[in-house]
């Protein structure tokens, strides 16, 4: 790839990081500002029977998303943040898919006609649209994860370039 291509690729990666970070900050704040509503939506997934665990998810997850979004926006610990974001998006998408399949089956409607509030921070949404959106976000998360979008990052990696790979994970 020539220099111009690399520059464009680098800019696209930075924009992708900002966009992904912005989306996570926005969606996290929507839920964090009304955690009771999010709590009710999490309960509808029927996956958590314990009230303390349910409350913990509903109260902490939105702020956790905001935190990850801020890290991506500012460019701190970018690859780790992208991995965490991807680690949230994949199971969330599978859970939303499972619930949509259950709704389609229970109501006898076409899968893509299923519309419900998935607790994602965007209100009622058509499932097929949601799946496309989440797939897009996962692709965007892959860019910083592979090391793209280093420009305009405060501290892309927590470890300075050139330091050896950590050999053990601290307890």
């Amino acid at each position: 790839m020539n220099t111009t291509g690399l520059k464009i690729g680098s800019r696209v990666a930075v924009l992708a990081r900002w966009f992904l970070g912005g989306i996570f900050v926005y969606m996290g704040l929507v839920k964090a500002l009304d955690p009771a509503a999010f709590l009710k939506l999490v309960r509808e997934y029927e996956m958590v029977g314990n009230s303390v665990l349910l409350n913990s998810i509903a109260s902490a997850l939105p702020w956790f998303e905001v935190f990850c979004g801020v890290l991506l926006l500012t460019g701190v610990a970018v690859r780790g943040s992208a991995l965490v974001v991807l680690g949230m998006l994949i199971p969330f998408t599978l859970i939303v898919l499972k619930r949509a399949l259950a709704i389609a089956s229970a109501e006898g409607i076409f899968f893509c006609a299923v519309k419900f509030n998935c607790g994602c921070g965007t209100g009622d949404v058509l499932i097929c649209q949601k799946l496309v959106e989440n797939s897009g976000l996962m692709l965007l998360a892959l860019l910083p994860l592979v090391g793209l979008g280093k420009k305009r990052a405060l501290r892309f990696s927590l470890w300075p370039t050139g330091t050896p790979e950590p050999t053990t994970v601290p307890s």
Binding site: E46, S56, A60, W63, S81, L83, E107
Partner: protein, 199 residues
């Protein structure tokens, strides 16, 4: 790759601490040990067109999952007609009959049954001081939320019952504010007794 994994672990750990801390500091934060659903881990089935119509028509069908669950909990039910009768009863003006809106600030301010007290079950500490004395003094307490599959009126009733408000005073208006407005009844906007009502 190990570096990325370690970074992700650090992000997750610091993020979790910050997230729980933000919940504690947030005025809208949840109490982690509170059982807001009173042991009901499963929600009532999602509303479909038939159920929505039944609620709008003000029926109290025993097959309705919301009503079945209320009865299972030993709570009494009122339909739209009964709610309107209680609202127009002279005892309502005397405080012997009260209405309680179990929705959040935004919904309550947007329009509630005139004179209804607000009691958001997810922040009971903000409302109990006002609501508890009037509940003790009242003979009948009608609790409602949005209607349809909304369960907040049920949970608010159970919270009040847990606070030693007599169960025979508690009535859940299952049609909720949706049915109330569909029947052409007036709603009050803003604070309680704001005087700003419309149909």
């Amino acid at each position: 790759m190990k570096r990325v994994l370690l970074e992700a672990l650090l992000v997750a750990a610091v993020g979790a601490v910050i997230a729980f801390g933000a919940n504690v500091l947030s005025p809208r934060g949840l109490n982690l040990t509170e059982d807001y659903f009173h042991g009901e881990t499963l929600p009532v089935p999602r509303a479909n067109a038939n159920r929505t119509n039944a609620v709008t028509a003000g029926t109290n069908s025993a097959t309705d999952p919301v009503i079945a669950r209320l009865r299972e909990k030993g709570l009494q039910i009122v339909n739209g007609e009964q709610a309107a009768e209680l609202f127009h009863d002279p005892l309502y003006q005397q405080g012997a009959i009260i209405f309680i809106d179990a929705r959040n600030d935004e919904h309550y301010q947007g329009g509630h049954i005139p004179g209804a007290y607000q009691f958001d079950n997810y922040h009971p500490e903000n409302y109990m001081g006002t609501v508890f004395p009037v509940c003790q003094a009242a003979q009948k307490i009608v609790i409602y939320c949005n209607g349809g599959n909304c369960e907040d009126s049920q949970f608010a009733a159970l919270t009040l019952r847990d606070a030693q408000i007599a169960n025979d005073k508690l009535f859940v208006y299952t049609g909720g504010i949706t049915e109330w407005t569909n029947r052409g009844n007036a709603v009050e906007v803003g604070d309680r007794n704001s005087g700003r009502t419309h149909k």
